[in-house]
């Protein structure tokens, strides 16, 4: 087990950058590389600059930040709960953010005031984390957090179903369903400005947990004896995930499997150390989401294939393969 975390993180950073550029160059308007990239900086050709700045740049930026948020919070939660099956959705944050958005759609608030949707989603995520923290208590065991998260998730999912059930017309129901599938299509710079501060703050909080998560490898008692405030670690892990994933869900809908699969793939490559896995998973998540968002545009142009559908479609079989491989390793 040679230490390969440094070079790996560098490779992932380069890959993320390349996929970011690729995302900028993918779209229905066929623009060549030189003019489109120069237009974004100089703004010379107004039409091209408009496409690049107002359509593709926010989409690529959101792909980058949302992917990083999902990958990072997956790695942080797995490290905190010491469980490779933990993922951001486990805390009920995604389901509650979705519920907030669905309420905005259902009440028609989002028609009157477009930003009501992401704002309501953020409120939903915030409420979820308050309830989970209150239920779980400070420094309690990981089992109570998981149970509290499941309870909140189930409740939010039930309320979402209720909204669908009672939706005034089929179009409203369709709109809700499409939103729930998760997508980066037609997001504007306003969405970036709204969600970026939350995602950045959440990611910074989670990245700061590295040392504590390393110590938690030995269990909560040993970590506490090494000077780690385990109650604070739990608060930061839950709040950081809520900020990052709540904001991500608020602008893009629920995108599954990235937070679960990315840390899984990268863990053996960084020698399993949680502190190394955090930055690697942030970059890996960003790469995966940018790639998926390029693929939805290339595979079915004009069909509006939803991003969340693609990640689940690729993620689920991959996860099955992981389970199969784990079982074989245990035999």
């Amino acid at each position: 087990m040679k230490d390969r975390a440094g070079p790996l993180i560098l490779c992932l950073a380069v890959l993320t950058l390349l996929l970011f550029l690729l995302s900028m160059l993918t779209g229905p308007a066929a623009l060549d590389i030189g003019t489109s990239l120069s237009a974004i900086v100089t703004g010379n050709d107004e039409a091209i600059a408009l496409v690049m700045r107002e359509i593709r740049l926010p989409r690529a930026l959101l792909g980058l930040m949302i992917g990083a948020s999902l990958g990072l919070s997956g790695a942080a939660l797995q490290g905190h709960l010491r469980n490779p099956l933990a993922e951001p959705a486990l805390l009920g944050v995604s389901a509650s953010a979705s519920l907030g958005a669905v309420i905005a759609l259902y009440t028609g608030l989002s028609l009157v005031f477009p930003l009501a949707l992401p704002l309501m989603a953020l409120v939903g995520a915030g409420l979820a984390v308050l309830v989970v923290q209150a239920l779980a208590g400070r420094g309690s065991g990981t089992l109570t957090i998981i149970l509290a998260g499941i309870a909140v998730s189930s409740f939010a999912a039930a309320m979402t179903s209720l909204a669908l059930n009672l939706s005034p017309n089929p179009f409203a129901a369709m709109e809700i369903v499409y939103w729930l599938l998760g997508s980066l299509t037609d997001r504007s710079m306003l969405h970036v400005q709204l969600s970026a501060p939350f995602m950045l703050l959440g990611c910074l909080m989670l990245l700061g947990l590295g040392r504590s998560l390393d110590a938690l490898t030995l269990g909560p008692d040993a970590a506490a004896s090494m000077g780690i405030d385990t109650g604070r670690v739990q608060f930061v892990a839950v709040a950081g995930t809520a900020l990052a994933v709540g904001a991500a869900t608020a602008v893009a809908g629920a995108i599954g499997f990235v937070g679960l699969v990315v840390p899984h793939i990268l863990r053996p490559l960084v020698g399993s150390q949680p502190s190394r896995l955090l930055p690697a998973s942030a970059l890996g998540g960003a790469s995966m989401l940018l790639l998926a968002d390029v693929l939805v545009r290339v595979i079915a142009p004009g069909k509006d294939l939803k991003l969340g559908v693609l990640t689940a479609l690729v993620g689920a079989p991959f996860f099955l393969w992981l389970v199969f491989r784990t079982r074989r390793a245990m035999l």
Binding site: R82, A215, L216, T217, D221, A222, G227
Partner: protein, 259 residues
Amino acid sequence: MSLLKLTDLGVSLGPRPILHGIDLSVSRGELVGLIGPNGAGKSTLIRSVFGLVPSVGEIAIDGRPARRLPLRERARLVALLPQEREIGWAISVEKLVALGRTPHTGFFAAAGAHDRAVVERAIRRMELDALRQRPVTELSGGEKARVLIARALAQDAPLLIADEPTAGLDPAHQIALMQSLADIAADGSAVIASLHDLGLAARWCTRLVLLDKGRIVADGPPGEVLTAERLRSVYGIEAHIEQTPQGLVLQPMAATRQG
């Protein structure tokens, strides 16, 4: 001055008292064996020192009230080998032992030459040199136990508290471990170890503290604590006890009561 001083320490879980009226003072150079039957309160006593269970009474570490001590500072004074031995991730032996330096290294600072030297000493002391690159999850139970002890040693605290450090070790490694703990104590640190093996406790500890039903019922040199009468009343066993030129030998022979 004593490294650890407990005064009238009590712990209750709900209405049920687990420990009461515990007075204990441990100084440098001592290897204290914490003994007593299952459920006597050994682990609770250990966990209360680290604030892992709520307690009443006074806990002083190196003369300072433990509950007001900043966590990192406390971690430089007392190391813990907890009973829980489950390791979350498949990190390498070397990296796991180096986790013991956590309270000594800054947030951004990399481990310095001194940190590496302490880690190397712990690895050598526990004979882990050949295993250092192996993932800990692939080790045998005994190897894992030695890695976890090395991790606690790497914390380099003057007081080491170990909850059943010999559990899961074969006789040779049990003896090697007790020898290491005795060496550490002889070097001027203090060690408190909860032990179930009375033979090891009798042979290696400088002092034994016998707990029964949440109270200290005896405290002193092994020869004074381990009397046939006490073993009968506290443990419910008959034991062969003999003073030999190599030290005290104790072998439990028969149970006089069940449970």
